[in-house]
């Protein structure tokens, strides 16, 4: 089976518009979905789920969300951590206030609440551009974290100031709380990832995506050809925050189980997600996944190699991790500003011509 588009003629615009126009890609995509849904759930244990799969899946959602804002719409945001916190606290308040409603609904609702907050903090983007906006989004980051720390209503007046996820079930299987099965939490996150990735793909290939990209590439020209900057930017903030809110809700309720804002949703989280999309590739859904996978696996890899195999003290490994992440980011920007997604694309171009490149 060759990786070719020749001979695979598209006779309708629907065919030409599909996500994976090359047959091979399409089959690979089905294979990945099959493995993810039907094989991995039977193989995972707690370690794999907690160390790799859950963070990967949850960060992927956040990375897709941020990529919509930064990669597609060109509005740089450093407030991701704060918006994830909104999702987390929203789902916490909803879970404790309406214990009988399904957690799935709560997570979507948390996304919607975050979207509203995102739009609110996105409003200045109409007047403020570029770096000024990037710095302005830090206002959201610091203010929101402060708010959840200092206003006891948000953490239900608990003595520790922490929020703890009570047990909630989906189809009778616990997905939050202390008594969960690895496969159940994995699956619930996978379902959310699949849904959000599909929505993101649909939005970015259609009218809205073109509006965002037009604003990104040249906002003045975009307005003159008929893009309303208000709705374009606000929709980007809304969709982006919706995804980030869902990710925050899952991060707290399913992954951490207990959280304290400053620690779980601090500014380092904002940067982490930002790095994911830079390394993965701005303006690419695939890149969001690649970047999330890379930055989730890197520390695990370093820890296994450094601490477990070579016996280097863990604090040195932690410092090296900073050095390596920093160096990698710089390296990526110097060598391939378009990230892993571009490398992937180039590889595919080569593959398409293989074995006769000339």
């Amino acid at each position: 089976m060759f990786y070719r588009e020749s001979g695979d003629f598209k006779t309708t615009y629907i065919d030409d518009d599909q996500t994976f126009p090359i047959k091979f890609d399409r089959y690979r995509y089905y294979a990945v979905m099959f493995v993810a849904f039907a094989i991995i759930p039977f193989m995972v244990n707690d370690y794999w789920v907690n160390a790799i799969f859950l963070p990967f899946l949850i960060y992927s959602i956040a990375a897709i969300g941020l990529n919509i804002l930064v990669g597609y719409c060109g509005q740089v945001s450093l407030g991701t951590g704060g918006f994830m916190a909104v999702g987390a606290y929203a789902v916490y308040k909803l879970m404790t206030a309406f214990p009988d409603v399904s957690i799935v609904f709560h997570i979507f609702a948390a996304g919607a609440i975050t979207a509203a907050v995102g739009v609110l903090f996105g409003l200045p983007s109409l007047r403020i551009k570029g770096f000024y906006l990037a710095v302005a989004t830090l206002a959201a980051q610091f203010f929101l974290v402060w708010l959840f720390n200092r206003v006891p209503w948000f953490y239900n007046y608990s003595a520790s100031g922490q929020i703890n996820a009570p047990e909630r079930t989906v189809f009778g299987e616990a997905v939050t709380g202390p008594n969960v099965n690895a496969w159940a939490v994995y699956l619930i996150c996978l379902v959310f990832v699949t849904i959000t990735a599909l929505i993101a793909r649909n939005l970015t290939r259609g009218t809205l995506g073109r509006k965002w990209m037009a604003i990104r590439d040249m906002d003045i020209a975009a307005e003159i050809i008929g893009v309303n900057p208000l709705t374009a930017k606000m929709s980007a903030f809304a969709v982006s925050s919706f995804f980030i809110g869902i990710s925050g809700a899952l991060f707290f309720a399913v992954y951490l189980g207990a959280a304290e804002t400053g620690e779980a949703f601090g500014i380092t989280k904002s940067f982490l997600i930002l790095f994911m999309i830079i390394i993965g590739g701005l303006g690419s859904i695939f890149g969001s996944f690649a970047g999330a996978a890379f930055l989730v696996l890197l520390p695990v890899f370093l820890k296994v190699v450094g601490a477990d195999w070579l016996g280097v003290p863990t604090d040195i490994v932690a410092h090296f991790q900073l050095v390596i992440v920093g160096a990698l980011i710089i390296l990526f920007l110097v060598l391939e500003p378009h990230g892993l997604a571009q490398l992937w694309r180039v590889a595919k171009e080569k593959l398409r011509l293989w074995p006769f490149p000339h």
Partner: protein, 272 residues
């Protein structure tokens, strides 16, 4: 302006329609600098209207006023028989006024096809939620508009590059893609800001042909700014001449060519 006849016969015998847009006593200032001073002219249905003048005459500013990017301090814009209130550029675009730019303003990160499709934005009505689902209305709309976009792509002979990122194209092709994007909007008035700037003779001929074809086939009203006098005189039905923000001539190419003020402005005149 009922005094003006509804129809107008041009020099070469072409019939053009009624007044579709009228600028009345437009004055535009930036701080103390007066870019446009008390200019009035009209654009008729189906004509090719040129605005010419030396550098810094205020031609581009005039186009920016028409497309709602600059708001004049004084004067009125009348469009399709009604006074146009102060509008944001995207609202102007929604009214059917599309344009190209002097320094190409394409969306470099997108493919040619996507760029042309952005021209269709004003015709696409599905909302965010429908698009998120994709199947159904959003896809139907996408396909329908894709068809329109492809017609334009065929018309301008850029099929071969439709999936190429715009950033990789040479200058002349970019200009053509920009025209395609503006045409895709099916505008009632098409504004062209120096469509032939920086082109060689061959490219200029191509572009002139496209402009004439557009006017001919779609009946699009075109207002264009151009430096190249020769091209303008051949292409346009009527010409406005500007100098230092003022209108110094208005009429058919022949009238303008014989206008003393215009000759002075272009060839220079001895100042005492």
């Amino acid at each position: 302006m009922s005094a003006v006849a509804e129809e107008f016969i041009t020099e070469d015998g072409r019939k053009i329609g009624a007044v579709v847009m009228e600028m009345k006593n437009i004055t535009l200032k930036f701080g103390g600098v007066v870019a446009i001073k008390d200019i009035s002219f009209d654009i008729r249905q189906g004509e090719i209207r040129a605005i010419i003048g030396p550098n810094g005459a205020g031609k581009s500013s005039m186009l920016n006023v028409i497309s709602g990017f600059y708001h004049p301090q004084e004067g009125e814009v009348w469009y399709k028989g009604a006074r146009r209130p102060t509008m944001r550029p995207y609202q102007v675009a929604a009214q059917g006024i599309a344009r190209t730019f002097q320094n190409i303003a394409l969306f470099e990160g997108m493919s040619v096809l996507d760029n042309v499709m952005t021209g269709r934005l004003t015709h696409m009505k599905t909302n965010m939620f429908q698009q998120g689902l994709w199947y159904g209305k959003a896809r139907a709309e996408e396909i329908e508009n894709r068809q329109k976009a492809e017609e334009i792509i065929d018309f301008l002979e850029i099929q071969a590059i439709r999936k190429t990122p715009v950033g990789r194209l040479p200058y002349g092709l970019k200009k053509r893609v920009e025209l395609a994007r503006a045409l895709a909007a099916e505008p009632s008035i098409l504004l062209l800001d120096e469509p032939m700037a920086g082109m060689n003779v061959e490219e200029k001929e191509d572009m002139s042909r496209f402009i004439l074809d557009v006017n001919d086939e779609f009946g699009t009203t075109i207002a264009l700014i151009e430096h190249d006098m020769g091209v303008v005189m051949d292409l346009s039905d009527r010409v406005v001449v500007m100098d230092y923000g003022k209108k110094i001539g208005d009429g058919t190419p022949d009238e303008v060519r014989n206008n003393q003020n215009v000759i002075d402005a272009y060839l220079g005149v001895a100042h005492d």
